[in-house]
Each structure stands twice: as structure tokens, then as C-alpha cells.
Symmetry: C2
Subunit: 351 residues, 2 copies
């Protein structure tokens, strides 16, 4: 059973972009039909769609939505509109690298076409490119799912952290794709989902996705993961990554480093699932990945209520780094890096 | 500087019980003057006063509040009232062992007095006993503070979990007493306080107490503790305990076990501070301490907002057990158990 994707194009050239409004999850499951580029812009800006790959796909389809009404106009007018739409969408979330990457692909696709092509034909090529971006992402997720499921084949329980699923990608996600595939092979698989403070992506999004797909999920607080390992309720931990250094050190949502230490102490394999685009081979090790600190209010006023003293000093690192020595294997769309060494990373990513 | 205690008797025989309303912390700092036994009952019932020793002291003073108006009546009438008050207060929180222990001490004190004693004299003896219970608790806290501060003497940073401070006791607390004493000796000491999901006692109470006392505190999410250790920001972890087995295994707020594993992995000493009454030498090891599971809603609807899907399965253990092998030392009011072995525990607790 495939649930509705987080990002979908409905119809053909005169179709529209449909999104799950992630700001309303998990209490309301609402679809937004974006029929204007302003709606797409607002959805990205307001985090109704989130997760790097999902944002990229939404922006690519946003270009189609923004140019549809000009399809019968002369190319000069269409081209002017296209430039405007690309520039406009780029302002929706200026720190999202995948947003620019997707818009650049759409721009390059337009640039490759002859000036003599009809506007409607050009729009058609652009829709093809947007669909290709989506299909490629879906294929990467599927590949990580396949490779990951093999590693999880003998588990009766698995622990995950943050959200790495279909809500963040066009497909099934990264670490969660592996879990979905493993649960398909073993429907009894029990998934323990860390709630993932401070922003609770595990509680709000991962638990929701797993329930939607009929996978057995048990929500825990982050501080309970060690207890779950001690009780032998999980035989593997699998997480995503935001950035991976040349030696395999993996930066990911805060809490990941601690999980990697706990997994090692309990003799439990610790897996990272991330597409090859996550690797930054210019970084020798994770020590060079700067730790971003976020607003104190995420911790002090996280649940719609002030839960700490006013002006209490806070340390709120957004990420930490699991060292390669704690990572059993890294799952990419190209294959599995195991053991995690500089050479094996280079072979898989550069080779 | 000593802040107001969480539980205090104001005045003499015609005085009253004053409490900090802990349900309003950390956003409002409100004192409740309890001048009727019904007010004391309600304060215990509604968790306005919490923490085993603090509840015991509040109940003991509650007996005085409940019997004051009968001080000029004949003993038979006074005694009937006393029995009623003792029975009534015992219903305020039927699972709080310290509540019964304190009420039993008050009852025994009354039973020891001659029948010929005037009601006002008996009331006076009862007030003495309540004060003794308070003073003893305060002395235990002070002793743990002294012993603990010696262990923390060379730390520039220390990590703690949950609330083990003045709000839970008549004195400075257990683990937090050690931190207060250490901060007095070294005012630059930096305390990292885990917020302690699901009930956030660290964010709501510990951070508040430390700020009140002018101790440097930094609030973190539980998942950030490993990162703080990795960054070498702390040189010790110190926590309380709810129950300690004969071999030194210590049951405490969920998350404690994980911290003990992380501290060991980082070569950081892990201390437990608890009065000798916490030890249960009939339990051979922590394996025999049952893990209480609490309501799912603590995790899914923690602070006035639903943060997980409706009906999401949850695992919510209230406690876990730090094994003796992960505990560098146990600090009691009698002295420090180090190393933590069956023999050393027995010598300190039985000896």
C-alpha cells in the first residue's frame, strides 16, 4: 500500500501541485492544491512542505504552475514570465540548497531548448524535467530502501531518530525507506521512534508516516532509547544524515551522536542512510562540520507553553556528528559502504 | 544566600505551613499559606508540593495545622481530632511512602506522651517532632552536599538530570545539594540541566532553582547530553536515586541509565546522591526493580498540545536502572560509597 506522497503533480500540462500540509500534522491530515505560484511560494516559506528533496521537487513543479497561464503566448512573454517565476521561487527559503539546485535544473532545461520552440512545447519539456527530478528522487529512495532492508532483514525491532521518510522526499525517504522495505518483508517489525526534541519531528512526522503505512511504531522520548536497547527490543539503529565527511563521520539531527555511542555500548549495529549527494569529500572529518545553534525558544517554549524559566540560558545545537568508528555501515543509493573507511567512502562516492 | 525553602513553618504553635506552589513554576513563583488541613491535603494531592522528603515534612506540619484549633479542648476531643487529621492526610497521596512514614512518626510521638498531658502541651510536642523531621532532612541534605562537593571540587562543568533539589526536600536536596555546595566553593561552576522528558522537571524546577540561587545553569534537551560530554563541557554527572539495590544498582528517572553509559564511554565520573533510606538491601540487584510504565499522554500531549498522532502506541517507562559498574560513587548522608561494591554498600548502610 502506497500512501499519498508528500509532493505530487496531479494531471498533465494543465494540472496542479498537491502537497500534504506538514504544519498541521499529526492532528490534521490536509492536502493543499497549489494552482498559483504564490501558493507554492507560501507553502515552501511556511514549511508546509519540508525536507531538502521534497522542497526541490515542489519548487520544480512550482515553475510549471507559475508558467501555465502563459503557454499560448509568444516565447518572449513566456520567457520573461519563466525568469520571474524562477527568481520569485528562489526567495521562498533562501537557505535551502536543494531549492536552488532544482530551480537551476529547470532553468538549464529551458536554456537548452531552441528559441523557436512554441511556449506550450517548452512548458511541456519543463514538466518533463520536473517529473524527472521527482522520479530520480523516488528511485534513490527505493534503492536505499532495498539496500537498507537487506541489513535489517534479521531484526525484530529497529530504532530511528528524527524524520527521514516520505514527507521529506518525493519517495519513501532515506532511513525510513529502509524501514518501510524491511517492514514489507517482515510485517511484525517493531519500530521505536524517538520523539526527537526539540522540534519533535519523530513524534509529529515519523510516527504519523509509520501509522499511515500500517507499520508497528512505538513512540518514545529520546532519553528512553538506552532503556529500549538494554531491554533488547531493537537489533539495529538507523538514521539519516545531513552531511557526511570523507572519512564517514556523519552529521545529523542532535541526539544522533549519543545514539551511536549507546548502540556501540550495547553491541547493536548503527546504520546511516543518505544519498551520495550528502557526502562532502572536501571535509576530511566530522570535526570540520560546524555545529549550528538554534533559538533557545525551541527548548523553553516548545509545546505551546513556556516550560523553563524566563531568560534561562540554553544550549541548542541543531546537529551532532556520529563518528565513522561508531557507524556499522552507510547506505547510499549506489550501495552500502561497509566498513566505513576513507577508502570505501571514496570508492563508492567518487568511483 | 538561602532562598525560601519549598516547605516552611512560619511562626510558633499558632503558626502556619508555607509552600512554594510548584505547579505554577517556572513562570509564576507563588507562596501558599496553608492555615487549614484541607489546604495541606489539597496541596499534596495536587502536587503543589512534591518530592518524597518535602511531602513528609508538609504532612507533619499539616498535622499541626489540623489540630491547632483544638489546643484548648480536653485531651479526648483533641485526640479524636488528631486521629481524624492523621487519617485524612494519609488519603492525600496514597502512593507516597514518605507521607505515611512522617504521619506514623507524628502518631508515635503522640502515643508516647502521657494521657494527662494538656492538649496544648501535646500540640507543642507534635510541633517539635515536625520540626525534627524537617531538621533531620535538612541535615541529610547538608551532609550529602558536603560529601558531594568534595567529589565535584575539580569540575568546571557538571551535568544533572531531573529535579533533586530544594523543591523536593526540606533542605538543599540530594544531587543538587552537592551542586549547590560545589558552586559555593567554585562560583564559576557551569551546570548543564537535562530538561528531563516527559515531565520536564529539569526545565521547570532544576533550572529555576539554580537560577534562584545564582548558579550558572544551561538548559539542554536530554538528547544533547552526549554532545555536551563530547565537547568536554562537563567533568562529572550527578543524579539522584529512587531506589538502590544491595549491589549498588540505582533506579532513577528515565534517562539515567543512558547517561551512565554515555559518561562511562567518555571517561566522565558518574555520581549518585541519595540518603541511606533509599537503599533496599532486600533487593540483590537492580534487575529486581520493576519498571513502572506511565500514561502515554505524558509523551503525546505533554504541555497543552497534542504532539503525536492520536492513538499512537507509546512506551513510557518512568525509571531505569544505572548499573553499579557505571557508578563511580554513591553519596549518602553517612559518607561516600566508592567503589560501589556489595561489601561497601553493606558497610555504609548496615554498619
Amino acid at each position: 500500500m502506497n500512501p499519498r506522497p508528500a509532493v505530487a503533480w496531479i494531471g498533465q500540462l494543465d494540472g496542479y501541485l498537491q502537497l500534504i500540509d506538514q504544519t498541521l500534522l499529526p492532528t490534521q491530515d490536509v492536502l493543499i492544491d497549489c494552482r498559483t505560484v504564490e501558493q507554492v511560494w507560501e507553502a515552501i516559506k511556511s514549511l508546509r512542505v519540508r525536507g531538502a528533496p521534497a522542497i526541490g521537487v515542489a519548487a520544480a513543479y512550482g515553475v510549471i504552475v507559475g508558467c501555465q497561464s502563459q503557454a499560448e503566448l509568444p516565447r518572449s512573454e513566456f520567457d520573461a514570465r519563466l525568469t520571474h517565476v524562477l527568481d520569485y521561487l528562489a526567495t521562498s527559503r533562501p537557505t535551502a540548497v536543494n531549492l536552488f539546485w532544482a530551480l537551476d535544473r529547470m532553468k538549464a532545461t529551458a536554456a537548452e531548448q531552441p528559441d523557436t520552440l512554441l511556449s506550450s512545447e517548452l512548458l511541456s519539456r519543463l514538466l518533463e524535467e520536473a517529473r524527472t527530478i521527482e522520479v530520480e528522487d523516488r528511485a534513490m529512495c527505493a534503492a536505499m530502501g532495498r539496500f537498507g532492508a537487506e541489513l535489517l532483514a534479521n531484526c525484530s525491532g529497529v530504532l530511528t531518530h528524527c524524520n527521514t521518510g516520505g514527507l521529506a522526499t518525493a519517495g519513501d525517504g532515506t532511513a525510513l525507506a529502509a524501514i518501510f522495505a524491511a517492514a514489507k518483508a517482515n510485517p511484525k517489525l517493531q519500530v521505536y521512534a524517538d520523539e526527537t526534541r526539540p522540534l519533535l519531528q519523530g513524534a509529529r512526522l515519523t510516527a504519523w508516516e509509520l501509522l499511515q503505512r500500517g507499520v508497528h511504531v512505538t513512540l518514545i522520548c529520546d532519553s528512553m532509547a538506552a532503556c529500549v536497547m538494554k531491554l533488547r527490543r531493537v537489533q539495529a539503529v538507523i538514521v539519516g544524515a545531513d552531511r557526511i565527511a570523507a572519512n564517514g563521520d556523519a552529521a545529523n539531527k542532535i541526539g544522533t551522536y549519543g545514539l551511536s555511542v549507546l548502540a556501540k555500548a550495547h553491541g547493536i549495529p548503527f546504520y546511516v542512510a543518505a544519498p551520495s549527494s550528502t557526502f562532502d569529500l572536501t571535509l576530511e572529518s566530522g570535526e570540520l562540520i560546524p555545529i549550528e545553534e538554534r533559538a533557545a525558544s525551541e527548548i523553553t517554549n516548545g509545546f505551546g507553553k513556556q516550560t523553563a524559566p524566563t531568560d534561562c540560558p540554553v544550549f541548542n545545537p541543531a546537529f551532532d556528528v556520529a563518528p565513522a568508528e561508531n557507524i556499522t555501515a552507510i547506505i547510499t543509493e549506489r550501495g552500502v559502504i561497509q566498513p566505513v573507511t576513507v577508502d570505501n567512502v571514496r570508492k563508492m562516492i567518487k568511483g
